[in-house]
Amino acid sequence: MASKETPLVMSGNSSCAGCGAILIARLVTEAIGPNQIMVIPACCMGAVATSFPKATFNVPVLRTAFASTASFLTGLEASVKAKGQDVTLVGFAGDGATVDIGLAALSGAIERGHSFVYICYDNEGYMNTGFQRSGSTPPGAQTSTTPGGALGRYKMEPRKDIAKIIAAHGIPYLATASPAYPADLKRKVEKAVDVKGPTFLHIMSPCPLGWGFPSASTVQLARIAVESGLWKLYELDHGVLRLSLSPKKRKPVREFFAPQSRFAHLADGTYQALQDEIDAEWAIIEKEGFSLRCETSRA
């Protein structure tokens, strides 16, 4: 087992400058400690952190196919029970592997109640394969499969709200987090480790290349997402839902969208419409309290 002094995420990775995911990986593995087995599917982390002969993680890593993070966790949990092992099982998967191709396996594993910590680092698209749209890409975004073009075919559809989908399973513990709030993120991971049963963390993972912003701005952009009220930090702990942070004076959403080239085509008027939506959403939260009701989602 790695000693306390040894970093759990080592330099042997080829992540891009300013990668949100590797930062999240470091925070998550540090919060869990060396007694863990990680499952990583096809995703950015699978590509940048498991390149033979280098190894990034100082904990055992089992790579799997795109759809199989949660089914690997299922099998591992059964094997751990059979052997009487005491070890934390961690799934570390991107949004494509979670909200799209791996959703059935994840849903099944949560329904069956296996014990694991599932981390979805959400960079809002298939960034590893060249920035294609996923079910988690926000509306308006230009991606390589929603390129806009002469006909203006950008991503038009609302994103799947994966946290709500997972919450509908009656999962014991679910939280959203942001790499701009590392203490909050680590506290939530630590909490998840102690839960008996499935746990899910949905973490915003800014991607400088895919979103088109300077690599030095990753944490800043993640922070603006929270401060503008776009990315809500909350947890659902055994049925009790609470916001982890309520931005007192929300920053304009324009500050989140404007620096990203994937939204460069948005007309000025669009920002006001987006601002109005967010304001309306927070007006309801402030009046009625935060909820995961589907009718409050932005369409």
Partner: protein
């Protein structure tokens, strides 16, 4: 001789999993496999089997979960059939290439469309090149015995590859036969307590199944190729050890009956070989020099052993219950390949049929024998015949001639 119990091949497989003290079973229901996992679930629920039984939400996940469990060093088992096996396809490659010694029972069933739940081998043959070892059971007793042997073959350090035990849907899966269930103490002596896989040790962290460059990738494939080749000897060895311990010949690469002096030899997989055996006995009784070879190990394919066995034969009828469209009967093609380069070799006839539960019975086999006779008399015959196909609606005959 220990007296048997009346049971289906699905029960026989479930008993084998129990006797092997499997640690993890992850599976998903599909006809005609389902009775295997139902029986295992009951064993577990009654406290007769200690396994972690997980009914997952798809076959893709069933195999994925089995792979993950095996990667953590426990004995893992699953079972499927037809569409389920096809749905596993991605993880089929994964299991073999990750070198996990898991065992799976595949209850052979036709693939859709059109929908058909009855037996043929298209499901198994479609997974031929995934890297799995594939054994074929002729009887319900084989289904039990081969499953036990499969664990020992898969877990052998010279092999370390997953093994699929094929048993014909309905012909075996839903038919009762006398099956001897071995004493647990004997099985404990035959199998190691657990496979020697230990990849996920937190004390010595490793990254498994990572990304490699082209120069390294082929190294992995070469190792896999060597292991599958080595399995030829291991399967024979394990079959011998099993026969010694349990007093039954139900393993090995090939099973030969009346081949030595035979002019005509049938070659088949699974329960069809068992039917042909009884026909061979009847033909022998009327003085026909006919023999049969049951190919018990389809992968690895015992080509050299088969060619050797067929050295003195004049006509070989290879029965395929699967087809490679645009090419031919898969087993027939492989038998021909095995004979390539020999100075004298028999005529190989490719018999195709028994699809979707259609019979490979006395009617078909008598016709096949007439065909083989014609070939033996050097009369012009077609090299491939589909059995049980009627003329099409426009009056054309199936072979287009």
């Amino acid at each position: 001789m220990t007296s048997g119990r009346n049971m289906t091949a699905t029960s026989a497989v479930a008993y084998a999993a129990r006797l092997a003290q499997v640690d993890v079973v992850a599976a998903y229901p599909i006809t005609p496999q389902t009775r295997i996992i139902e029986a295992i679930a009951k064993f577990v629920a009654d406290g007769e089997m200690k396994a972690q039984f997980v009914q997952v939400e798809s076959e893709h996940s069933a195999l994925a979960a089995t792979i993950a469990a095996s990667s953590n060093g426990v004995r893992a088992f699953t079972a499927t059939s037809s569409q389920g096996l096809l749905y596993m396809h991605e993880m089929m490659h994964w299991a073999a290439s990750a070198r996990v010694p898991i065992v799976m029972a595949n209850v052979n069933r036709a693939v859709a469309p059109p929908w058909n739940i009855y037996g043929d081998h298209q499901d198994a043959i479609s997974q031929r090149d995934t890297g799995w070892l594939q054994l074929f059971a002729e009887t319900n007793q084989h289904a039990l015995d081969m499953t036990l042997q499969a664990f020992r073959i898969a877990e052998d350090s010279r092999v370390q590859l997953p093994v699929m035990v094929n048993l014909d849907g309905f012909t075996l899966s839903h038919t009762y036969e006398q099956v001897v269930v071995p004493e647990p103490e004997l099985v404990n002596r035959f199998l190691a307590p657990r496979p020697a896989v230990d990849w996920l040790d937190v004390e010595h962290p490793k990254t498994i199944n990572g990304v490699v460059s082209p120069e390294h990738y082929i190294q992995f494939r070469a190792l896999q190729k060597d292991a599958a080749r080595r399995a030829l000897a291991v399967i024979e060895e394990v079959g011998g050890a099993f026969a010694k311990q349990f007093g039954r010949d139900s393993g090995g690469l090939l099973s030969l009956e009346q081949v030595d002096d035979a002019e005509i030899v049938f070659v088949a997989l699974g329960s069809a070989a068992s039917t042909i055996r009884s026909m061979v006995r009847a033909w022998r009784a009327v003085g026909r020099r006919v023999g049969v070879i049951s190919v018990r190990s389809y992968r690895p394919f015992p080509g050299a052993e088969l060619a050797e066995a067929l050295a003195g034969t004049r006509v070989v009828v290879v029965w395929d219950r699967a087809y490679s469209f645009g090419c031919g009967g898969p087993l027939a093609g492989e038998v021909k390949e095995a004979l390539y380069g020999r100075n004298r070799h028999p005529v190989v006839l490719s018999a195709v049929g028994g699809f979707g539960g259609a019979p490979v019975g006395p009617t078909e086999l008598e016709k096949a024998l007439e065909w083989a006779d014609a070939a033996m008399q050097s009369r012009p015959v077609s090299s491939e015949t589909w059995f049980g196909v009627k003329a099409y609606r426009d009056g054309r005959t199936p072979d287009g001639k």
